[in-house]
């Protein structure tokens, strides 16, 4: 029996973004995730680890995995670099955020993503010039606001619902030069089916050349920890988080935010194997 070939080709590629000092590249896919059958680019999604400047409300089991270095955000960011994360996602609430971001960027040399309130994010975006930041936004309104103050940084289009292309177009019209889409946070529950479907559809629309569907996709899976009480073992929570990371990477996420180092390590290894690196 001679089998028909099932390989497919696509008319368009996903946008490529340079972050940090230009030495990290995200996106650029020309096939469904990892699929050599369709000529995949051998490039894995990047993994960003979370670090907070305040531990209020932070999960106790997760905190135990950072050997005390989570009490100081700069040290925490350095630890993520030592753990092999591709970048660090800073969740900031303090007043000295701009200087802190500059110090962490200089000390770690890895790409930085920042989330904070709108005024702080604007100050950070306008003050930091020597590294390309990813500005994570909590909702559509913040995405639109930051689009007007983007400098050369990448602004995340937060679109849990509605048409992501419409938001990206509006952000571009307000001045955002580089946009990344966030189609919703990951949770290992009934919402995952819809999120997977949204990520897969967005990715395939991009590969098929649909206008404004070619942006890179961000997915935050650190939210998987919200399903666990404080009594959960770090191992079980990390397995949930890593499985969720694998799920969204296989759907098409180009950048994944994780809470735990276990999940970061597993997600990186999965990505390397699937991308045949």
């Amino acid at each position: 029996m001679r089998l028909p070939r099932t390989s497919k080709s696509y008319p368009a590629e996903i946008e490529e973004l340079r972050v940090g000092r230009g030495d990290y590249v995200i996106g650029g896919a020309r096939s469904p995730p990892f699929l050599d059958l369709d000529g995949a680019r051998h490039r894995r999604p990047v993994i960003f680890g979370e670090a907070f400047d305040s531990l209020e409300g932070y999960h106790g089991s997760a905190a135990e995995m950072f050997s005390g270095r989570q009490t100081e955000v700069e040290e925490w960011a350095v630890m993520w670099k030592e753990l092999g994360a591709d970048g660090v996602c800073l969740r900031l609430t303090g007043d000295d955020s701009t200087e802190l971001v500059k110090r962490i960027a200089a000390r770690t040399g890895i790409p930085i993503m920042v989330s904070s309130d709108t005024d702080d994010l604007i100050k950070i975006a306008e003050s930091v010039d020597d590294t390309v930041l990813i500005i994570a936004c909590r909702d559509k309104e913040q995405s639109l606001e930051l689009a007007s103050h983007s400098n050369n940084h990448i602004i995340v289009a937060r679109c849990d619902a509605g048409d992501p292309a419409e938001l990206c177009r509006e952000m571009s019209s307000r001045g955002a030069k580089n946009v990344m889409v966030d189609l919703g946070s990951g949770r290992l529950d009934g919402s995952l089916k819809d999120l997977r479907s949204r990520i897969e559809s967005y990715r395939m629309d991009g590969l098929n050349g649909r206008a404004d569907y070619n942006h890179t996709i961000l997915c935050d899976v650190s939210t998987s920890w919200e399903a666990h009480g404080e009594e959960v073992s770090a191992r079980r929570a990390s397995m949930h988080e890593a499985t969720l990371a694998l799920t969204v990477m296989m759907a098409g996420a180009d950048i994944v935010i994780v809470k735990g180092p276990g999940a970061a390590d597993m997600a990186r290894v999965y990505g390397e194997e699937l991308a045949d690196l």
């Binding site: 099932t6 290992l188 529950d189 089916k193 949930h240 694998l246 799920t247 296989m250 999965y270």
Partner: protein, 211 residues
């Protein structure tokens, strides 16, 4: 289906402990099947272990052997359970097909090459086997992604590819990852030598989340 294995080389007491462990894990939803492995290559103790497992375990069963005669002898004792039969390949397909048809059990056919795999499907169908599972003998998660996707696409073109896929894997976190990849691509039949409680719980939550 996610099955964990019991070897017919184990002592009876160990088998009871093993089944008890699998029953505990299964409360989360996975595993939902036990695979009895004919590691002894003999009719006995395979038949005895299959009987023992069937008395304690009420979920789905899988029988795994390279010898269709051993499977036939074991099936006599559990005719109503309709286990999935694993072990059919190009060398023993006729015996397996006869057994699967006689006992009306799903038959898993195995080959590393897709052309040969679909030829086995064609032969099994001609022998009267109706329920078939495809085992392309995937060894790692990359191969799992590529092969499962290829088969899924082929199923839209040729009928021989339109059956569930089996993933036969080993133990530990890598086995869980293989299971995850196959479940994300298609609704696979996963047979793992062993998975710990955290892995079983994670897989069962994943399955509930994506279906």
């Amino acid at each position: 289906m996610i099955a964990l294995t019991v070897s017919d080389m184990m002592e009876a007491d160990d088998i009871c402990l093993r089944i008890s462990d699998i029953v505990d894990k299964s409360r989360t939803g996975a595993p939902d099947a036990i695979a009895v492995r004919n590691d002894s290559f003999s009719e006995e103790p395979f038949c005895s272990v299959v009987q023992l497992v069937s008395r304690i375990w009420t979920g789905d069963m899988v029988l795994e052997s390279n010898h269709p005669d051993n499977i036939s002898k074991a099936l006599v004792h559990i005719m109503d359970r309709k286990p999935v039969l694993i072990g059919a390949d190009a060398n023993n397909l006729d015996g397996f097909a006869m057994t699967a048809k006689l006992f009306n059990c799903p038959l898993c056919v195995s080959s590393e090459g897709l052309e040969e795999l679909f030829e086995l499907v064609r032969r099994a169908r001609e022998s009267g086997v109706e329920s078939i599972v495809l085992d392309p003998m995937m060894r790692n998660m990359k191969q799992c992604l590529e092969t499962c996707t290829d088969i899924k696409r082929l199923s839209e073109i040729i009928p021989e590819a339109g059956y569930p896929i089996a993933v036969r894997t080993w133990s530990g976190e890598y086995a869980m990852t293989m299971a995850t990849v196959s479940l994300l691509i298609d609704d696979a039949v996963v047979v793992a030598d062993d998975l710990d409680a955290d892995s079983c719980e994670t897989l069962s939550v994943l399955m509930r989340s994506i279906r």
